[in-house]
Amino acid sequence: MLRFIAKRLGLLVITLVGLSLLLFMWVRALPGGPATAMLGEKATPEAIEAINKAYGFDRPVWEQYFTYISKVMVGDFGNSTQSQRPVLQQFADQFPATAELAFFAILFAVLIGIPLGYWAARHYGKWQDNTSVILSLLGVVIPVFFLAFILKWIFAVELGWLPTDGRQDIRLDATHYTNFYVFDGLITGEFDAAWDAFKHLILPGIALGSIPLAIITRITRAAVLEVQGADYVRTAKAKGMTNKILRKRFILRNAMLPVATTVGLQLGLLFAGAVLTETVFAFQGIGYGIAQAISNADYPVLQAYIIFIALIYAVINLVVDLLYGVIDPRVRVK
């Protein structure tokens, strides 16, 4: 087991180093180099020269990369060219926001998707089934940011039930220890602050959760259908198992295996998908940070954030693989 984890972590390190190298080369392979990208096409040669000097872009690429990596090793990802704050510090501020949002989104997708998929499979071929298939098709083809618009327009602008943007009403002046706003509100006893932060999560969470919802529904339906027809279910039925036991121990437990993998994968993808949702709702998480970095050509932030998201994605996948052994004894690594 430990060897398995060690091997996976080793692969992860190699992947991240490779990724950072690719990103590094890509920025420097462009005509004009990063200085032109930062200053724009109309930059004067003197200005480009100055930027090259200041950031060390005039040195050989391998030397630049080595300097970068050795700084990264001690946790220095450089400073944002916009705010001049350390990238890592900015990430630490924004990560809890996205984590909270992604958690809410996946919770929404799981709580609706699994029952919906199960329900569709129980009524295979009937209208319930068709409805769920159409819904999950729509969930995938409707662009997330468009759905975010619709939700914002109906529930925030027209009906005014929920806030239009941000993470929390600033007038509440809530105390923040961990930057997980809902959690902070709960531990400090500022329940109105927690409730307000939660209300800010609802719309972006639903928008962000729409794709995982569609996919989880689809996978649950397919998995239940497959397990329902399996030989061991037929045997159990022939032995006179009650429907309740049959569903709980035989069908659901086995059908949840592929669903668990899907949930993990989708959770990882949400950290990237948040770019669009967070932009629509001005929700200050890492997706918002990336969008800002793009419009400001803030390369230290962009470069580091992509690596961080790849890291999150990989770690979640690793955890899912480990959990897989817990829920399915057959694949346990010896």
């Binding site: 992947t15 490779g18 990724l19 690719l22 990103l23 890509w26 920025v27 462009l30 990208a37 071929g125 009937k126 999950s136 098709l137 729509l138 995938v140 083809v141 409707i142 662009p143 997330v144 940011f145 468009f146 618009f149 619709i150 914002k152 327009w153 602008v157 027209e158 794709i211 569609a214 996919i215 689809r218 996978i219 339906r221 397919a222 998995a223 259908l225 497959e226 329902q228 027809g229 592929p258 899907t262 990237a272 998908g273 770019v275 669009l276 932009t279 629509v280 990336i290 969008a291 970095a293 793009i294 419009s295 050509a297 390369y299 962009l302 992509i306 998201i309 790849a310 994605y313 990989a314």
Partner: protein, 343 residues
């Protein structure tokens, strides 16, 4: 296996659940990747199956026959046909140019004429542009981005996949390691970062979306080729003394393209959505009134309360186009699936 076995597409409710599973298990796991075992194709000369002997149809001919009977495929094909016609005929059917602002005198910041304005059937946008015309021109730019970026992804991916699958050995190892690294970044994020670094032009968007698709195509073609490598007809070709490159090019590759083509159709849907997403994030370059669905949505967010139709119409266009490609891709996958074919 006799001739009067009903077609599964026509009688879905009578199918045992497992028949549907092969399709469902891989449907809509966007970015869609086809599992190799489901993509396997039967050896060309399947003598046990005499059902189609009289028709003498090929794999693709038969797939086409099956698709003609599937309502999913028909709806998808109609949507796509309409979309392509509109995109190609844009200069003739659009009342105004893409960036023209014929109604700028009718528009004030607080009053944007909506659907049903005389002379402008779908109303005006905040610049005074005709929304109908912009939607039509937007179809053209979506088609262009979709086709070009998917071609980039397809060509790049097929080249890498064919090299890896054809040569094997260290070439395979090196290519697949790089592909694994690229796959460790979520697709949209990769497209966003490529476009952001490559500068903000429509061309950068095409490259970004295309490049982000390369790893998926490469892996797909490779696994599909590896699967074919053990097939009897490859062994036969080897026994006949054909060279390795000959076997790769004229035996392995043609037989391994089925899943790749299905994936390309689905990738078109992703490309249309991603292109809108990237230009929504401001990566498309150009003036704010550019006739592009994603760009129209970006601008519309400032007028959500006064003119919500400005967001609804382009969003609807994106969703319908993506739906068309998805339906077509899914039904193509179903028709090519040997497990469904044999029934």
């Amino acid at each position: 296996m006799s001739a009067n076995i009903p077609d599964p597409n026509q009688l879905p409710e009578q199918l045992p659940p497992a028949a549907d599973r092969a399709i469902d298990a891989v449907v809509l796991t966007g970015p869609p990747v086809i599992e190799p075992e489901q993509a396997e194709q039967p050896a060309p000369a399947d003598k046990g199956d005499t059902r189609h002997a009289d028709r003498g149809t090929s794999l693709w001919g038969e797939a086409f026959q099956r698709m003609r009977r599937s309502p999913m495929a028909i709806v998808g094909a109609i949507i796509i046909a309409l979309f392509i016609i509109v995109a190609l005929l844009a200069p003739w059917i659009a009342p105004y140019g893409g960036e023209a602002t014929p109604g700028r005198k009718l528009v004030t910041p607080t009053d944007i004429p909506g659907i049903g304005t005389p002379g402008y059937p779908l109303g005006l946008d905040n610049f005074g542009g005709d929304v109908l015309s912009k939607l039509i021109w937007g179809a053209r730019s979506s088609l262009l981005v979709g086709v070009i970026s998917t071609c980039i992804g397809l060509l790049g991916g097929m080249l890498l996949g064919a090299l890896a699958g054809g040569f094997g050995g260290w070439v395979d190892t090196v290519i697949m390691r790089v592909v694994d690294i690229l796959l460790s970044v979520p697709n949209l994020l990769m497209a966003v970062s490529i476009a952001a670094i490559a500068g903000q032009t429509p061309f950068a968007i095409m490259i970004a979306i295309g490049a982000a698709q390369i790893p998926v195509f490469a892996r797909l073609l490779r696994s599909s080729m590896l699967q074919q490598r053990g097939a009897d007809y490859v062994l036969a070709a080897q026994t006949l003394g054909l060279s390795r490159s000959k076997i790769t090019m004229s035996h392995l590759l043609p037989n391994a393209t089925g899943p790749v083509i299905v994936q390309a159709t689905l990738a078109l849907a992703t490309a249309v959505i991603d292109a809108a997403a990237l230009s929504f994030l401001g990566l498309g370059g150009g003036v704010p009134q550019t006739a592009e669905w994603g760009r129209m949505l970006t601008v519309a967010q400032n007028f959500l309360s006064s003119a919500p139709q400005l967001a609804f119409l382009p969003g609807l266009c994106i969703a319908i186009t993506a739906l068309g490609f998805t339906l077509l891709g899914e039904s193509l996958r179903e028709s090519l699936d040997p497990k469904a074919r044999k029934r």
